[in-house]
């Protein structure tokens, strides 16, 4: 007889809600007539995402004492719940952004989106190498398909394939690393690994290195970033918006937990490794972004450079670093999502890839989107127009507290470099002379829902500057679930 573990159903309610939504959306593809299909599936998806937000808030409130559930394979704690809140909010915004775009596989788009969100929501709570790998594949496979869902789009298939190949490589590295760790400790649970680990165990260290590499692929940290610009550029912009924000949240939240919980003895090693990744990402992301003309590609490199900033917080491994990480992710994901959503709006208007040149005059034509974009760009650059500024402050504070003043200097220099390309976008939107303006042709589509999504991102990114204390309190409670 197979022994079934006790299942704490409540702990996985957000995941079940998202998955349920995914199934219903998939059914819509068959049962709902063409004319209604997009509306109904979008409605289902929005409901599921909202349900996910509500239930994960509930879970957050109700999980003050973090513990493992379901045969010790999943964490029910505030770190998981806060990450899930962010993920579900991003999912909701993605649904809103995607709801007004006609595509061939509409229901499938929402079904895959929700499936991927569910996978991420599971991923951030993983408590053993098994659940970690399973959920990683779960959300990755959904994303591979999403990247190529508009296969008539130029570059979409290429993006999907590239992501599939490179992503699988990352997954394989992670899986191999997990196997090595298991071989060294004969455990797969994070807590048990920490307890069984011997010092100077080469097998374990090799496994750890490969796990870090696998996760770095997902979070697109240099030098594992090669796929990012191509995939971000080729994928449908709505999907890019989702990937650039949600995948990062999931990957970084989980990375911190794995390293902190399973490998505390090796902290002196992984903190240096992550610091090296951070420096590499800052270098590659910022330098490459300087020369980009395509806005999506530029934002892709910018997301690599922000991965570098987040890794600074991660590399400290401290409680302050954990707070900094969580805090950074909130305005960052809002800005990343919002900026890609605005690119999506311009793209639909022009029916062409958005470059710095054809962004000319956009700020005056669409005042709200223009203002939001300049807030996001200045926020990315760390000017005090939004939470991005405090995120940087927090992350660099964590680095200094860790005794790494040099990392503060690296972060500051990277920010100075990044100014050039972020300001380039603002310049393109507002400062071209009328003679250079591109005529977009006809009145732009209204896209109320997309504007609502951008508005949400805007409110979060600006609100997190003024309401720092509440957000930090959330992050602190979440971080207290981790062992320090």
């Amino acid at each position: 007889m197979i022994h079934t573990p006790h299942i704490d159903w409540f702990s996985i309610v957000p995941i079940l809600v998202l998955l349920g939504g995914s199934f219903v959306a998939l059914l819509c593809a068959v049962l709902v007539p063409d004319a209604w299909r997009r509306t109904v599936s979008a409605l289902v998806a929005a409901t599921a995402a909202t349900g996910g937000i509500v239930t994960s808030i509930w879970l957050y409130v109700d999980s003050a004492n973090g513990h493992r559930v379901i045969a010790d394979s999943f964490y029910r704690d505030r770190w998981t719940a806060l990450s899930q809140i962010i993920l579900c909010a991003i999912t909701l915004a993605t649904v809103l952004t995607g709801a007004e775009r006609a595509r061939e596989h509409e229901s499938e788009f929402f079904a895959l989106l929700l499936a991927s969100a569910a996978g991420m929501a599971f991923f951030v709570g993983a408590a053993s190498l098994m659940t970690l790998f399973l959920s990683l594949e779960w959300f990755s496979i959904a994303l591979y398909v999403l990247c190529a869902i508009d296969y008539e789009l130029e570059g979409a298939l290429e993006a999907g394939l590239k992501y599939l190949v490179v992503g699988s490589f990352g997954s394989a590295a992670l899986l191999f690393g997990s196997a090595l760790v298991y071989a060294a400790t004969s455990h797969i649970g994070f807590v048990e690994i920490a307890a069984a680990a011997r010092s100077h165990d080469l097998l374990l260290l090799l496994g750890l290195a490969m796990i870090i590499a696998g996760l770095a692929f997902k979070s697109s940290a240099a030098p594992f970033h090669m796929w990012t610009p191509d995939v971000y550029q080729g994928a449908p912009t709505t999907v890019t918006a989702f990937m650039s924000s949600a995948t990062k949240v999931a990957a970084f939240a989980l990375s911190f937990r794995v390293l902190r919980t399973a490998f505390p003895q090796e902290e002196h090693l992984w903190s240096w490794a992550l610091a090296a990744l951070a420096v590499a990402s800052l270098l590659v992301g910022n330098l490459a972004a300087l020369v980009q003309k395509d806005v999506k590609r530029m934002l892709a490199y910018s997301s690599i450079s922000h991965a570098g900033f987040i890794l600074i917080g991660l590399s400290t491994g401290s409680a302050l670093g954990a707070r900094a990480l969580m805090y950074y992710l909130i305005p960052y994901s809002a800005m990343a999502f919002g900026s890609f959503a605005i690119v999506a709006a311009r793209e639909r208007e022009l029916n062409a890839p958005v470059t710095l040149d054809n962004l000319a005059g956009f700020g005056w034509e669409r005042p709200f989107l223009g203002v939001a974009m300049w807030f996001f760009m200045f926020g990315f650059a760390g000017l005090p127009l939004g939470g991005g500024f405090l995120g940087k402050f927090y992350v660099l504070s964590a680095a200094y507290e860790h005794g790494w003043a040099w990392l503060v200097v690296v972060g500051v220099v990277a920010t100075i470099v990044s100014l050039y390309y972020y300001l380039g976008v603002v310049r393109a939107m507002y400062m071209r002379s009328p003679a250079e303006l591109v005529v977009a042709g006809g009145s732009p589509p209204r896209e109320r829902l997309l504007q609502v999504a951008v508005g949400m991102a805007f409110v979060v990114s600006v609100g997190s500057l003024f309401a720092v204390s509440p957000v930090i309190t959330l992050a602190r409670h979440a971080a207290s679930a981790l062992p320090f």
Partner: protein, 484 residues
């Protein structure tokens, strides 16, 4: 609402008004009037504060303190000392004149223009009243955002290069200051400027000084100055040189000198030498500059050098003089740039070889330019003379040669100012000067005359500022004791 709340109101009223301008469906005329009205309300609020200010009392007045980021001990702490009160006054008066100027000339895209001018007002007041390092930094950076767009959108033909230079220069300085803020704040355990103990670190001092020296600007950090001052709309240049540059010298006084007494005396000679270089080199460049704005721009740099000499010579007289000179020069350069704007409107140029003979038939323009010019070259009895005399007398107490250099530069000031006056007003009539070009109109007079009147009042009673900036008769001691 008590008078202490006015400090916050002075910051947030214009910000709120800017948002209202962007959101409310107002006519072009209503937008401009509302902006002017708000800027006048600011002046009124400030007068109310100045009347209630207790100049004999030590310590911070009109202060408000609320936690902002609790776990890092960052607070929203604002308040005023004597000298910050005067700088706030300079800000609101100059901004009112400049916003009025923008209204008078009917700037294009009024919604964006007046909103940004109001944002700039709020941020600049914030710099002068912030008593928390991170808050100070946030406002210091926030000033740049509206400036960047104001120059980039409404500026002259070569505005793109000017804005990039301005941004990169000043952001590089201030991001290094951010690193210093983080390190200093975490070292002493608080970001509060009033409570933070003094520091001995020379590195931190240099990082702060770099940011302030770029903003002021001091030699050799003035690379951004000529382009920005020439390409910006005249009223924005007026703000930039009259008010924003003073944020640099204010920072030297409030943070660099106050919090780093040991490094201040260690680097005193170097800084005095750089300030003297700015003074002499700026004066020489002003003498060589081929256009109206160039002369005033380089003279601003020279004056910043003089103010820095006053601040860093560390004697009582010089400190009093430096504050007086900040205000006097702020008013002078604001008026001069506005007059430059009126001249450019009439002749389409500021280049001397195409100007000349404007005095004939334009008595108001000639009178105002002559009065401001004469005050600016520090004719005995003028406010600028009082300021420069105090600075030089104080510098003499440090070493006679600083005073000698300063006195020499005053001679240069007379030369470039008289050259400016004669090139614009007298000499043969320039190619672009048309007989039909009108004298200053009532609207223009209403903007410039109050500034000149303020200068004349200060000329009659320089002690209004010189004796009311630091409580007690000993500013050098006050700096050490009062702010800690």
């Amino acid at each position: 609402m008590t008078v202490a709340d006015f400090t916050s109101v002075l910051i947030w009223l214009p910000v709120g008004a800017a948002i209202a301008l962007w959101v409310l469906p107002l006519s072009r005329y209503a937008i401009g009037s509302l902006a002017v009205l708000v800027s006048l309300v600011e002046v009124g609020l400030w007068i109310e504060q100045a009347v209630r200010f207790r100049f004999n009392a030590t310590g911070l007045q009109f202060s408000q303190n609320a936690p902002w980021i609790k776990d890092l001990h960052v607070s929203y702490h604002v308040g005023e000392y004597g000298f910050s009160l005067w700088l706030v006054g300079l800000t609101v008066v100059a901004m009112a004149a400049c916003i009025g100027y923008g209204f008078w000339v009917g700037r294009d895209r009024p919604r964006a223009y007046f909103g940004l001018m109001l944002l700039l007002t709020g941020a600049t007041v914030g710099v002068f009243v912030a008593q928390d390092m991170l808050l100070f930094y946030a406002f210091f950076e926030a000033m740049l955002i509206p400036l960047y767009i104001l120059i980039g959108v409404w500026g002259g033909a070569a505005r793109t290069g000017a804005t990039i230079k301005l941004l990169i220069y000043t952001m590089a300085g201030s991001l290094i200051m951010l690193a210093a803020v983080i390190v200093y704040g975490l070292q002493v355990g608080t970001f509060d400027l009033v409570n933070a103990p003094i520091s001995m670190s020379r590195w931190l001092f240099l990082a702060f000084m770099l940011a302030f020296a770029i903003k002021a600007p001091l030699f050799p950090f003035h690379g951004w100055l000529p382009d920005a001052y020439r390409e910006a709309p005249p009223e924005v240049t007026a703000v930039l040189s009259g008010v924003i540059a003073k944020a640099g010298t204010y920072g030297m006084l409030r943070i660099a000198i106050t919090k780093f007494p040991e490094p201040t005396s260690y680097y005193r000679t170097v800084i005095l030498a750089l300030a003297a270089a700015a003074l002499v080199y700026g004066s020489l460049l002003a003498f060589r500059a081929p256009d109206f704005r160039g002369v005033v721009a380089y003279s601003s740099m020279a004056q910043s050098g003089l103010i820095a000499i006053g601040l860093f010579s560390g004697s009582n007289l010089a400190l009093d003089g430096a504050v007086l000179q900040m205000i006097a020069h702020g008013l002078v350069s604001c008026s001069l740039f506005l007059i430059a704007g009126t001249v450019e409107r009439r002749t389409t140029t500021g280049e001397f070889f195409r100007l000349g003979g404007l005095a004939k038939g334009r008595p108001a323009l000639a009178t105002l330019l002559l009065i401001v010019g004469v005050i600016s070259l520090a004719v005995p009895g003028s406010a600028a003379f009082a300021g420069e005399f105090l600075i030089l007398a104080g510098a003499y107490q440090r070493a006679w040669w600083w005073a000698a250099i300063g006195a020499g530069a005053i001679v240069l000031a007379a030369m470039y100012m008289l050259r400016l006056i004669s090139a614009v007003l007298h000499e043969a009539r320039g190619a672009t000067v048309d007989d039909a070009a009108l004298d200053l109109r009532a609207g223009e007079l209403a903007l410039i005359v109050p500034l000149v009147a303020a200068l004349l009042v200060l000329s009659a009673w320089p002690a209004a500022i010189a004796h009311h900036s630091f409580a007690g008769d000993n500013p050098a001691n006050a700096i050490v004791s009062q702010f800690n």
